[in-house]
């Protein structure tokens, strides 16, 4: 079995454990490369069907190309899609024009997520986070409980081993299920390449720049790159020493910004 086969089989195992353990699952979808890999793996886990809805937290600062991709892929994969905007925060004038990126990210992503969880009473979210993205994500579990305030108790996490997970939740709590935890950025690209998985074109270089990680347009910067194909991207990643989320402003707004965001419910 190759390395990618091992990762794929482990992810499918996790998807199926989640489907058994929880009554009301949703899978957040940013249309980014990782969440498109998640869709692919879910199809594999459930014989070509995805038995739960996808969830797009629309910050209203989405790149138009991403929305175009969303609408195309929803049809292509026959997805059940829930779109959620934190209308209340937008009405209060929360936006990148007037507020700092940590505040906006918290309001338009984390709070929007809390709202949609409460509305639909989801007890589990399947997320595409990976351990190699960030040092706080490195400490995650495959099944990671969040309390009713959405807080992550990263100092006192339940143990997890032998393919057994935390699956019980009290009302209002939910569990983050993270099938891509062991994958790396390069793994994701090799898997996309191997299976020909559709992704937005913004990942590929145009005019000497490409997006390595995609978020809200006002705070997402492209990197210098001439990588126009997946082969180019993989070659580029072999030599780069820049971190994947370097172009994501909310991570770097203040010291420990990512940790603070994540403790309050950010993915």
């Amino acid at each position: 079995m190759t390395h990618l086969d091992r990762l794929e089989n482990q992810s499918i195992f996790l998807f199926r454990e989640a489907q058994h353990a929880f009554k009301n699952i949703a899978m957040p979808w940013s249309m980014g490369k990782d969440s498109n890999v998640l869709i692919w793996l879910a199809k594999k886990a459930f014989g070509g069907h995805i038995p739960f809805p996808l969830l797009h937290i629309d910050t209203t600062y989405e790149f138009p190309e991403m929305l175009e991709f969303r609408d195309w892929a929803t049809k292509e994969y026959d997805l059940k899609l829930i779109i959620k905007i934190n209308e209340e925060a937008r009405a209060r004038g929360i936006g990148y024009e007037t507020h700092d990126p940590v505040t906006v990210t918290h309001e338009l992503k984390s709070v929007a997520l809390q709202q949609v969880l409460a509305e639909h009473k989801f007890d589990a979210l399947v997320t595409g986070i990976r351990r190699d993205e960030d040092s706080t994500r490195a400490k995650e579990r495959y099944f990671s409980p969040r309390n009713a305030q959405f807080e992550w108790e990263y100092k006192d996490q339940p143990p997890e081993f032998w393919g057994q997970f935390t699956t019980s939740v009290e009302p209002g709590e939910h569990v983050r299920v993270q099938p891509l935890l062991d994958w790396t950025e390069v793994d994701i690209w090799r898997y996309i390449q191997k299976n020909n998985i559709p992704i937005p074109q913004m990942y590929f270089a145009r005019d000497g720049k490409r997006y390595r990680s995609l978020g809200c347009w006002p705070i997402t910067k492209p990197v210098e790159s001439n990588a126009a194909t997946i082969e180019d991207i993989i070659a580029e990643l072999q030599v780069t020493k820049t971190s994947e989320r370097a172009g994501r402003a909310q991570d770097h707004h203040e010291r420990n910004a990512m940790q603070k965001l994540r403790a309050k419910g950010f993915m």
Binding site: A138, K139, Q157, T166, Q238
Partner: protein, 645 residues
């Protein structure tokens, strides 16, 4: 200060990634070693070192390699690695993931979480301090967790003047300690993480050492192969019917199968041939599958298969049994108690099992067997225990098939500890399951024999309350939950009784009393045969319910009165059978709550307001009550405390 290394060369594209865990006593230098490995293999992102150096300067601290890891603020404050974290680095040979597991005793659960998934382990030892509590404990745990490839790094050699004698003594002592646990370290490396001796480059301070440096020793490790050559164990995760197919989804833990193979599903031992292996996308068609693969299959015959079943070939099946011995490590604050029933999860099986006895307890510091007799296992202790499950399950000895030879124990909805099974007999154990039925022969069947057979005693749970209060909904759900937990359970429903056993009775007060008496006698008979009986009857009169309780208790059967006390306004609003509407219209005379009284219980063991609690919450209370009342060690007639809410 550091000699530059040749530029990084890249590992082969599909080179395996090796997951290594670094364990050992707190302060023996793990974080420093990892920081060093990252630095020396050029595996840090640009700016990381500068960032940490700046942070150190801001806090007035000297730079240390350990800080490269401790990206979280709390860790820098405490100087302890709180949770396992995973770090990638690469050498010319391959990619590595380092699991940094905390050495502090407080964080054993995190060390286990990290180590359980590792392909290999480095045990770090401080040359000055030698074998400490965690050095021993972690060595033993690596053996329980099944990590076979172990390297021992003897750190801080600079602080013992690079003494060969000290190193040799440590190697001798630790090998002797690990030998009984079947761990044979592949190498001992004398080194200094802080100063970079024998990490990447051989040390000029220890010319007496001719072995490989730590990195070279790592590069010589192998990825443990998937157990393809072992007997087949296909663990069933779920059955899917998303389309016209009935897919049996699961993972092959060991062995392999192909389309056409005959498979037996344990513990029920139903057999069928594999019709197909279903994939998405459907092409190319898959005809065989191997250990490590998550697959979905269809079967030739429509046999009963469910989550928890283990598929195997006809020969070399797993053990089936209710009793087994296991080495258990306990991680939860609440101690593990002899006589208590716990939920165990083994592969995808979930069973209720009683901790029957402690066979052997180990001293937590030295791991030497203790002679004291104990009825509880505290946090971070290890012991050999005997478990008695409520119903048969399929399992292996962990030295035969690791993946189906180990289980976790649930405490308060979390993983409380883990155990690995040993000493089970493959053939005789299967016979033992069959012999459990021998008690149904010529001899009179004693109550004790029935309790042994079912794993619990018979009991009556009497649900009373108005029409529409939720009795039957709860009774049906309770029955289903108990049944799935392996408890022999049945339901006596008022409506059904009136169609048969009590079809000659009307609704006069006298007939109502007789109706309850017959129900109570039937419940007693069934409970005497070993079943947990749930009744769902309005039973409006206190006198009749007292009589029902007396019938059971006289026969030595525990009886629990549960009052489903949903207010009449709510019941009438629900009115599932439109009975209230008819009663109000005068079509049903003598309807309880309308023109016939309901006498609420004065002292029920449990009262449930289904209008205030979710069905799930009510069920939780009922399940706890049922577990207590039907527990084999419960005393019939004993007061049930703590259930009024």
């Amino acid at each position: 200060m550091h000699a530059p290394l040749p530029a990084r060369t890249e590992p082969q594209e599909d080179a395996q990634r090796l997951k290594i865990v670094i364990v050992g006593h707190v302060d023996h230098g793990k974080s420093t070693l990892i920081g060093r490995l990252l630095f020396d293999t050029h595996s840090l992102p640009d700016g990381k070192i500068e960032q940490i150096q700046k942070a150190c300067a801001a806090e007035g601290m000297d730079f240390e390699y350990a800080f490269l890891l401790d990206a979280l603020l709390e860790e820098q404050e405490q100087n302890i690695t709180i949770d396992t974290t995973q770090i990638q680095f690469r050498t010319a040979a391959r990619n590595y993931v380092i699991v940094d597991a905390p050495g502090h005793k407080e964080f054993l659960k995190n060390m286990i979480t990290g180590a359980a998934s590792a392909d290999a382990a480095i045990v770090l030892l401080d040359a000055r301090e030698g074998l400490q509590e965690q050095t021993r404990r972690h060595g033993y745990l690596l053996s329980l967790l099944g990590v076979k490839q172990v390297l021992v790094a003897v750190n801080k050699m600079d602080l013992v003047d690079f003494s060969q004698e000290t190193f040799n003594q440590l190697e001798h002592d630790y090998r002797a300690f690990l030998k009984p646990y079947d761990i044979d370290p592949l190498a001992f490396v004398p080194m200094s993480a802080k100063h970079g001796h024998n990490i990447v480059k051989p040390s000029d301070k220890m010319p007496w050492f001719s072995g490989a440096t730590l990195l070279t020793a790592l590069d010589h490790l192998q990825q443990p192969p998937a157990p393809i050559d072992r007997p087949l164990r296909f663990i069933v995760q779920d059955i899917y019917r998303f389309d016209e197919r009935r897919l049996i989804a699961g993972r092959i833990e060991s062995g392999q199968f192909k389309v056409g193979d005959e498979i037996v599903f344990s513990p029920d031992r139903k057999r069928s041939k594999i019709k197909s292996i279903e994939t998405w996308p459907a092409e190319p068609r898959q005809t065989e599958a191997f250990a490590g693969q998550s697959v979905a299959i269809t079967l030739e015959e429509q046999i009963f298969v469910e989550r928890g079943h283990i598929g195997s070939h006809l020969d070399h099946g797993p053990v089936e049994g209710r009793s087994f011995s296991a080495r258990v490590f306990w991680l939860h604050d609440e101690p593990l108690l002899v006589g208590q029933t716990y939920t165990l999860k083994l592969a995808t099986q979930q069973v209720e099992a009683r901790l029957a006895k402690v066979d052997r307890l180990m001293d937590s510091a030295t791991l030497a067997p203790l002679n004291e007799s104990r009825s509880s296992i505290g946090r971070n202790e290890v012991a050999e225990l005997v478990w008695q499950a409520r119903h048969p399950l399929a399992f292996d000895n962990s030295d035969v098939i690791q993946e189906t030879g180990r289980f976790i124990v649930v405490q308060d909805g979390r993983i409380g500890g883990g155990g690995v099974i040993f000493g089970a007999q493959y053939e005789p154990a299967a016979n033992a399951v069959r012999s459990a039925h021998i008690s149904w022969t010529d001899d009179p069947v004693s109550r004790e024999a029935r309790i042994d057979h079912f794993g619990h005693r018979g009991a009556v749970i009497w649900l009373t309350g108005l029409s529409g209060s939720g009795k039957t909904t709860l009774a049906v759900a309770l029955q289903s939950r108990l049944f799935r937990k392996g408890i022999a359970v049945t339901l006596l429903d008022g409506d059904n009784l009136r169609h048969g056993l009590c079809s000659d009775l009307g609704f006069s007060d006298a007939d109502r009393s007789e109706n309850i008496r017959r129900a109570a006698e039937a419940a007693r008979l069934l409970a005497e045969s070993g079943l947990v009986v749930i009744t769902s009857l309005i039973s409006p009169f206190a006198k009749d319910r007292q009589n029902a309780a007396a019938i059971s208790r006289k026969a030595g059967i525990p009886f629990a009165e549960v009052y489903v006390s949903t207010p009449i306004a709510v019941c009438e609003e629900r009115d599932p059978k439109s009975l209230y509407k008819k009663a109000r219209a005068g079509e049903i005379p003598g309807f309880t709550g309308i023109d016939s009284p309901y006498e609420p219980p004065v002292n029920p063991v449990l009262e449930l307001r289904t209008d205030l609690m979710s069905k799930e919450q009510s069920l939780e209370h009922l399940l706890r009550l049922a577990e207590q009342i039907a527990h084999r060690d419960s005393m019939p007639g004993e007061e049930l405390a703590g259930f009024s809410i």
